[in-house]
């Protein structure tokens, strides 16, 4: 049944009670973030000034900001950014799909959970920094091995989140589905996954940030393009430390942006489920 009108009346009532518009809510959400960012930048600038650090040790925020802008406008950062973004999205697609499938399997089958869980945990406990060079050695240093490294690093949290989410579904809902003669597929897609969405999407939040880490590690293990490669170039070949910091800033922005996209998707899907 479409209860949008009643939801709208509820929203209007809430706004009337709290006195807040959507815009004001947005400001209340964003303002603390901006304030924290400003404090961070001021502390950073103070450390540079008080410690009298040279640029090649710790560049100040204005130097980094200037290099960030010039790095984008002169085309230094962009090609590496797109490569890393591509690796992250492909890795998340592969790792996320595998994580979902394995998570469902682990949730549905106690035998599979008993058999596979120790190995999945062991794989996760092995540092990706140690695995990445081996993967590059076995599969080469092309895009495929970098996507594989990204997929591996985000697989575990998504698999676990999916498993926990599906196991947390209210058994009465599943029983209700059975009573309506819903098939296994229908129970999975119409009841279990929608019910487990908060946990699944929560795991994707973690997965997406780990995928960014995985892409950088993979590029360090072997790659000719990407933000990880640019860090090496800036530090080891160009001795351009402000560019290295600007690249780190780019990586941070990439991670935060992807995280917020997942949060936005999560809000829409969970709200539409409700």
């Amino acid at each position: 049944m479409n209860d949008a009108p009643s939801r709208q009346r509820a929203d209007e009532g809430r706004e009337a009670l709290t006195g807040g518009s959507g815009r004001r809510r947005a400001v209340r959400t964003i303002a603390p973030v901006l304030l924290a960012g400003a404090v961070f930048v001021m502390v950073w600038a103070a450390i540079v000034a008080v410690g009298d650090y040279p640029t090649y040790i710790l560049p100040g925020p204005l130097v980094v900001a200037d290099r960030f802008v010039s790095g984008w406008t002169d085309g230094t950062i962009a090609p590496h950014f797109w490569m890393t973004l591509g690796e992250v999205l492909l890795g998340l697609a592969v790792g996320g799909t595998a994580g979902l499938l394995v998570g469902v399997l682990l949730a549905r089958s106690q035998a599979a959970a008993r058999m596979l869980s120790p190995y999945i945990v062991a794989a996760q406990a092995t540092p990706i920094l140690a695995l990445a060079p081996l993967i590059a050695l076995w599969f080469g240093t092309g895009l495929a091995s970098r996507v594989l490294i990204c997929a591996l690093i985000c697989f575990f949290p998504i698999a676990v989140g999916t498993m926990v989410g599906i196991r947390s579904v209210d058994p009465k809902l599943i029983e209700l589905g059975r009573s309506f003669r819903a098939s296994r597929w229908q129970r999975l897609t119409r009841i279990e996954i929608p019910s487990a969405l908060p946990q699944i999407l929560g795991s994707f939040r973690i997965g997406v940030t780990l995928a960014v880490v995985g892409a950088i590690v993979a590029e360090w293990a072997g790659g000719d393009s990407g933000l990880g490669v640019l860090i090496n170039l800036a530090r080891g070949s160009m001795f351009d430390i402000p560019l290295m910091f600007a690249t780190l800033l780019t990586i941070a922005i990439l991670g935060v942006t992807l995280y917020l996209i997942v949060v936005s998707i999560e809000r829409r899907l969970v709200r539409s489920r409700d």
Partner: protein, 342 residues
């Protein structure tokens, strides 16, 4: 008034006391001087990223007491070039062996280091291949698969410089990266047609396996400044004397090893016993290393001397490379100092 009956004795006693005091004072002063000269100057020395027979001069100078005789207490650290340059600039490491091709972009970026003495008179970077690949000239690299450790460092600079002489760029090759420095295996197993390396390393390894190797040397094609002793400018100002003594002792060891490589091998094996498990390979590497120390300029002016003219041309080569960060206003005087030269 009567005079003392012992004027001469009193005077003599006073003279004796005065002499004794003077003698005591001079002994004390001498002891203090001795103490001041006896305290050695501590130097932290940065060498390349792993212990190697290529650092034999440093090992020999240390074990033969040349550093101690010069009043130095030397500690070695192994660092990769980018870290070493920064540590030298900070003064955390006092002197180190680093690439001349790292000094140029570093100084261009305002990092306060300077090159003080030549170790490798010929840049040891090469492109090597199996003879059967038929790569006899840089132009033969077009369209070939070439293995490199990464698109950074002296080998990357050297490759670009060599390609430029044949009108090529890295885009004309298929570059394959080996971040674990496995280029020798890659060439020997045919994964790539050629690879970058050091004249004293990969080609030597392959030749010892009985493989016939072609070597294109950047020193013959596009001469660049080779590795040498690099210092931070602040350290040079505060520890100049100690650094000069260190340089002189190191060059003395180089001369001895050049005359008799065995002394270098012995010093290396004493320092790094693991390397003694394959003495033939280490001997071959050391002999190739000694060859790289030599140059026409070094023959005329001695090991350790800096060829400023070669630095001028090397600076121009690096300035002309695609994506170069070398400032147009940079001069050789900004990069090189004669304060440590013998």
């Amino acid at each position: 008034m009567d005079r003392s009956p012992y004027p001469t004795l009193r005077g003599a006693a006073a003279a004796i006391v005065a002499a004794g005091l003077a003698l005591s004072l001079s002994v004390v002063a001498g002891a203090q001087d001795a103490n001041e000269t006896a305290a050695p100057s501590s130097l932290t020395v940065g060498l390349g990223y792993i212990p190697s027979v290529q650092f034999a001069p440093f090992y020999l100078a240390d074990q033969a007491g040349y550093y101690a005789d010069s009043g130095l207490d030397v500690t070695f650290q192994n660092k990769i070039d980018p870290e070493l340059i920064t540590l030298l600039a900070q003064g955390t490491v006092d002197i180190g062996m680093a690439d001349g091709t790292s000094v140029i972009p570093a100084v261009s970026q305002g990092i306060p280091v300077v090159y003080g003495a030549t170790i490798y008179g010929r840049d040891p970077n090469v492109v090597f291949s199996l003879a059967e690949a038929g790569i006899n000239d840089v132009s033969d690299l077009a369209g070939k698969k070439v293995g490199i450790p990464g698109r950074y460092g002296s080998s990357w600079v050297a490759l670009q410089a060599m390609l430029e002489t044949a009108g090529l760029t890295p885009d004309d090759l298929e570059i394959v990266t080996y971040p674990d420095f496995g280029q020798a295996v890659a060439v020997s197993t045919g994964q790539v047609d050629a690879a970058t390396g050091f004249s004293s390393n990969e080609p030597v390894q392959l030749a010892l396996q009985g493989l016939e190797v072609n070597v294109l040397s950047v020193a013959d094609i596009a001469p660049l400044p080779g590795p040498g002793l690099v210092v931070g400018t602040d350290t040079l100002a505060t520890k100049g004397e100690a650094l000069r003594a260190f340089t002189a002792a190191t060059i003395r060891a180089m001369q001895e090893i050049e005359a008799d490589p065995q002394v270098g091998l012995d010093a290396t094996f004493a320092r790094v016993p693991e390397l003694a498990s394959d003495p033939d390979t280490q001997q071959a590497i050391l002999e190739a290393t000694i060859e790289s120390w030599r140059s026409d300029y070094a023959s005329e002016h001695g090991l350790g001397s800096i060829d400023w003219t070669a630095w001028e041309s090397g600076l121009e080569i690096m300035r002309s490379l695609p994506g170069s960060v070398v400032s147009d206003s940079l001069t050789v005087e900004d990069l090189v100092t004669s304060e440590l030269e013998p």
